[in-house]
Amino acid sequence: MDSKTAKHRYWRANLRLVAACLAVWFVVSFGFGILLVSPLDEIQLFGVPLGFWFAQQGSIICFIAVIFYYAWRMNRLDREHDVEED
């Protein structure tokens, strides 16, 4: 595989990972915390209405998880495609 194709593959894999992570980012904040907040509020999570909880705490926790997952996965991708920085 020539280096041009290899780089293409790497970039595509990168874009796919970013898209997936952004989807989660969007869903937990704009989705659960804003657009779907009323129906979700019907459910109680240990004394906190669920939609409200996502808006105030849950989304932040998910953001942290998404970033760490992305960093770990992306660094692995670097190694797999042999573009890891030395």
């Binding site: 041009k4 992570c21 704009f30 932040i60 953001f63 970033i67 573009v83």
Partner: protein
Amino acid sequence: MDLKLLTYLVVGTSFAVYIGIAIWSRARDTGDFYVAGKHVHPVANGMATAADWMSAASFISMAGLIAFLGYDGSVYLMGWTGGYVLLALLLAPYLRKFGKFTVPEFVGERYDSRVARIVAVICLIFISFTYVAGQMRGVGIVFSRFLEVPIGAGLAIGMGIVFIYAVLGGMKGVTYTQIAQYCVLIFAYTVPAVFIALQITGMPIPQIAFGSVVLGDSLPLLEKLDQVVTELGFPAYTSGTKSMIDVFCITAALMIGTAGLPHVIVRFFTVPKVRDARYSAGWALLFIGILYLTAPAVGSMARLNLTETIQVGPVGAPDGNVSYEDRPDWFRTWEATGLLSFEDHNGDGRIQYYNDRNPGFAQQAGRFGWRGNELRVDPDILVLANPEIAGLPQWVIALIAAGGIAAALSTAAGLLLVISAAISHDLLKGVIAPQISERAELMAGRISAAAAIVIAGALGYYPPAFVAQVVAFAFGLAAASLFPSILLGIFYKRMNKQGAIAGMLAGLVFTYGYIEYFKGLFLQWVGAPWGQDIASEWLLGISPEGIGTLGMLLNFTVAITVSRFTPPPPLRVQALVDEIRYPRVTAGEASSD
């Protein structure tokens, strides 16, 4: 020990620490001064970023805003954290690979245009100075409130401390002091929260106490709070009053604006490698999250405390409200500052605190003999007064003062440094006098940092009356002008200088125009008839705070359209894009498709 003396001691000790760090981390060359020699460990960088990010607003104002807005306060919680996901995924690693010193430098090189670089510098200076005015104001207020030092002197002391570690150490000095300031501010924020959570729910971890049952009651905190406030005609805490589209747009504008703020972006230039930049964003959000996950608890508990201190018995009962005579000590102290005030509208000597703008409640209130809300509370005092309201020991109160100052100074330093780099590196070295030596540039950096500090101090002393609105404008501007240009620069090779400049200007003019029309930032000064923020006239129901989102979309549209009709960027720029996309590829090897 006297509270004032104790506060002096605690604050003074923190200052000694900052100065010690400044001396230890003197900058020796421009690499040190602008990006701390790219030696900062990702975890340390995360902590510094967190302190840089969490300003006086996060520390002092946010919990107070949440306390009075309830669900609507979520725009700040999500808005000021979600942007880090965008930074980590879309910007940080690529800008780190770019490897130079400033954001305008990236814009200038990517778009092969001095004009673009200068536009970026203008946006940066505006955003950063407005932000820094707010911080300086915060420093002055904490000094005057807790240390009883006049605002001017307080400002001078704050400026002096920042001067020492920013001018001496540059980014290196600023980074390591920010780490110390993070430790101070997180401790100062968490300790009172733990005490209060324990008092109200018996659960010492505030983030969890948020959902716990109130001691001596059978209801969870939020349910009790909903009940208590709705009985007084206020909207329920867990539902909001803003329209969904507005909540959506404000949250988006804040998130995207965060990712476009130069003083935050530059933090990712200081780590050794691309993979460190990715992790560093995670660490930053983790450290930020510790405070942000506590804030909803602090806000809701403060609201409950405040309301129950005034409404001591059943609503409407003759002795259901505390009498003015019997008001607690903290009430008296804060009354003296003018941030808390009482007016006995019905002359019964008792304090009625309720929502007199709720027509549905007005009839009931009338029957109780109430004649209008009698208590006015500035949301800013909630975090500062919370320890007193809860009757916490004095050292906790002194700690809050040190924490508030740490938060303000850490952010101010980050902003001032980015302003100074824009002047010495982007304007001077980049455009006006490219031949100046490294030593001269370093000296220019120090001088512009010093000048920026003085101007910031002046802005703190004579703040533009509209500081809060101007900060909202800063986010909108970052979202509409800088973020799209940087994003397109990395992900869309076809984007050229004409598109980028057109897009930046479109976003800038639209966002500025909209905010000026509704908020009257500057032109009202000269007698413009606008500045009436009438909600029914908002475009699509979006407030000026949220308009940056539309500005961003406009930027994208204009930029992409214009670039299609103009020549593609030169091959060497396309090679640059390739270089930043791959952690290991040299410019010679890069493809040019």
